[in-house]
Symmetry: C2
Subunit: 507 residues, 2 copies
């Protein structure tokens, strides 16, 4: 049974959706370009006359560029050239975040996720003239339009996209931003804005769910940009409203048609929950929320404490441990880092709530674990933390040992240095883990390295033509997808990737 | 400029749409059957459990039979088996009047009319559970459903069709009807009912327009069944509201989104207009309507009178002369028959309106024309009327000479006898001309032959599995289509074919 009280509090925080109309900025066509993301770039087609002055026959097609990725609905105002409509009008529409989705639209779909995520529609309209708004919401920058059938030549009198989000305007760049930083920042804000709908979605094109792990990062970026804490609180209460039978907080919930539990649990997301609460408290001073959710936050550690009783487990926890989308990654050490990191935040919350006995217990547990992790997982010869039976070396392990304060100060700097020079190391795949890498640099006082990585990783995305940040970005494998072999299914605007706006702003 | 007064009168007569829900009666599959219409029959699939208790995965498909052809909207109540909806649901739906449309759904479309008439849809639904009514109106008996993508197994909790028409219930058969006649009658009424929407449509699946020629026949059937004279009057006023520049009455109008002229003129339809008015007056005594429309009716003859001044033209009128869908047909004589037939009715209307001088002139013109037609077009050696320079012999010519009373009594009987035994004669193609053949038998006192032809022509349709009557029916060529080579584009429920209910009822 969901927690009614939390659902009520979530409902009180439903954001008002802002809507605004956007006109296409150009007619474009996809062209091969090895320097562009996934090998495709949209090229502007010089046009003699405006779209509304042209007429299209059966089989005609065109592609519109709306200038930036938006989330919302498409509105078409159509008429036939001579007003003689002796048949319906039939259109094929394909909404795309990336040029590849349109350029490779005719390939057989080979993804493992549902094909229904591909944003294409066949629309049949009986009456002309007509203004028609497609009923579904799309995430797109480009729209491919094909006239399958029209009684006589078809005129698109107006095509506009009614964008929607809880926030409309991006916040201005800081005065000291370079032009490149301004771009990095805008793409980050745009990514977050597009995901700020009824809840904080992971991606507005695909998945469209509220995920606990993603929310934690998004809350950070929101705090330095839109500061829409209502949506953060709504999202927190929604997740908390659906505890599992054993007390675990769900990794995600669906919010449509009515909020319901997705019955998914991720151990590292669960133990990072206190950090989300603590960060939110620091931003807002909302003590009531802390009080409401402390028991649930504490419960997450009860679920796993037995595995750490005699020091530090050598095996991954018997749960979905996420850390990163990376098949070869051994998650043992990183997951333990998450547990310890969360434990420290839980202790802080306990102190604020004046639960001093609990706080002391948690602090003692953290001290014990920290010592054990240093003792058992650090390989002094290599100067790096290892993970699992095969003593795998990964960036993930080093990052989380730093975030969990198992090492700090100069030791942390040294560890990062070693990590950078290690040749056989499992590298981060998702912007989610890259975000944590930036944070590891930041708390180790390596600001220069932090900015260098930010420019290297996110800056490359901008150079490749992105205007929002994707779910997955690996420079060496641009067609990489966690879901089979079809990159069209990837989410090109994924809020867990919006780090730059945060790291460009905090000190 | 349309006639505002007539548009107002048309609007005053907009019928109230009745709606009723119909549940599917069976799951079926198409099977080859040389005895069935177009070689396909739907066979019932014995089912162990109701549809709502089954669950469908990607790629699954089924066909529902709703028992009879209906016009309206489909409503789906859907849920996924486990309520875990991590992707939209995507369905392919195909609405079909005939088994062929589903059995041959994957053939490349080769019709000349717009492919948009094929009643198929791709539907993507974001939220589950959901009750979804497709926005468009379909004419169908069968629905093909394919699950393209579903997050997990999909359950169709309820599928119902909300039928719509200005009339819901068929009128009961007369007590003396045989079971076969009852079937003939029901299919006729069903055909008319399905076309009785905002106006009298020619076909609810394809074309969906109000045609003057069709309306004339439909008014006859309506008079002995539903007696919804409001729709007849609305349809008459709508057509009359859009005279052409030269005063011609349009052959058809569109009624959606707002009534407008289709800019189409058919000479024989135009000169038959007085017959429609006269018949309606006989049924309703509505003298105001006669008065409103007499000038327009008279105008149609002014358009063509010059061609008949010196007797009877030897060539077809310089206009679209319809008579029948038949490429080889010479329409000269039949068109002249239509003119004369209409002229006689126009004279009758003039008398009712006390325009005695006009009436006398019209009667004299009719007498002159009738004599000339007998003199110039009757071939005494063959005992048949001929048409055009090549003296073509067609059923159409004989039918219209009888209806125009160029011959009557025993001469008419003899003419029909000759026609039946003529080997090289152009035969009727559409039920529109077959209707006029029945009428020719009727007014010649050949009731037995009339019933024989009714049973032979429409009875064959019933035996072949139809439950409504189509636009075109030629026993020898079941795949015949007036529009290219794809019979899927044909209209299987076309109101101009609803003759049986009329001829089974009148004496």
């Amino acid at each position: 049974m969901p927690n009614r009280e939390f659902l009520r509090k979530a409902d009180e925080r439903i954001p008002i959706t802002r809507r605004w109309d956007v006109l296409p900025v150009a007619l474009v066509k996809p062209v091969r370009d090895s320097a562009a993301w996934q090998g495709w770039r949209m090229e502007k087609i010089p046009t003699r006359k405006p779209l509304a002055d042209r007429a299209f026959k059966n089989g005609d097609r065109f592609i519109l560029d709306f200038g930036e990725e938006l989330v919302g609905k498409l509105k078409l105002t159509l008429r036939s050239q001579r007003n003689f409509n002796d048949s319906p009008v039939r259109l094929r529409l394909l909404f795309a975040e990336t040029p590849l989705e349109i350029a490779e639209r005719n390939r057989r779909y080979t993804g493992t996720l549902s094909r229904a995520w591909i944003q294409d529609e066949i629309v049949t309209l009986d009456d002309m003239p007509q203004t028609y708004t497609l009923p579904r919401i799309y995430a797109m920058r480009y729209v491919f339009v094909e006239v399958i059938a029209t009684p006589n030549r078809l005129v698109f009198e107006d095509i506009r996209f009614t964008a929607r989000s809880a926030v409309r305007d991006l916040v201005p760049p800081l005065p000291h931003f370079s032009p490149e930083e301004t771009e990095l920042d805008r793409a980050a804000q745009r990514t977050l804005r597009n995901c700020m709908q009824g809840v904080l979605l992971d991606g507005p094109k695909r998945d469209r769910r509220l995920w606990l792990g993603d929310l934690r990062l998004e809350a950070q970026v929101n705090a330095v940009t839109f500061r829409r804490f209502d949506i953060i609180e709504r999202s927190i209460y929604l997740l908390a409203a659906f505890p599992q039978e054993n007390g675990g907080i769900p990794a995600c919930v669906f919010d449509r048609p009515e909020p319901y539990d997705a019955k998914t649990f991720i151990s590292d997301y669960a133990v990072l929950f206190p950090d989300l609460l603590w960060f939110h408290y620091e931003q807002t001073g909302n003590r009531e929320l802390l009080k409401d959710l402390f028991p649930l936050a504490a419960k997450q550690f009860d679920l796993f404490r037995s595995f750490y009783r005699n020091g530090v487990a050598q095996q991954e926890l018997p749960a979905w441990n996420f850390i990163d989308w990376c098949a070869e990654l051994d998650r043992t050490t990183a997951t333990q880092g998450c547990y310890l990191f969360g434990l420290r935040k839980l202790a802080k919350i306990a102190r604020i709530l004046k639960k001093f006995t609990t706080a002391k217990q948690l602090e003692q547990e953290a001290l014990f674990l920290s010592t054990e992790l240093k003792k058992q997982k650090f390989d002094p010869k290599k100067g790096l933390f290892v993970s699992g039976k095969k003593k795998q070396i990964s960036c993930a392990s080093q990052i989380w040992m730093i975030l969990a304060e198992v090492v700090s100060g100069n030791d942390a700097k040294l560890l990062l240095e070693k990590m950078e020079h290690c040749k056989h190391i499992v590298k981060p795949v998702t912007p989610y883990l890259h975000h944590h890498l930036l944070e590891a640099y930041r708390i180790s006082g390596e600001k220069e390295k932090m900015f260098r990585h930010l420019h290297l990783y996110w800056g490359t995305m901008i150079k490749k033509g992105m205007n929002v940040y994707p779910e997955v970005f690996v420079k060496e494998n641009e067609r990489l997808t966690p879901y089979g072999s079809d990159p069209r299914i990837n989410s090109a605007c994924h809020a867990w990737s919006c780090a730059p706006a945060y790291f460009l702003r905090i000190n």
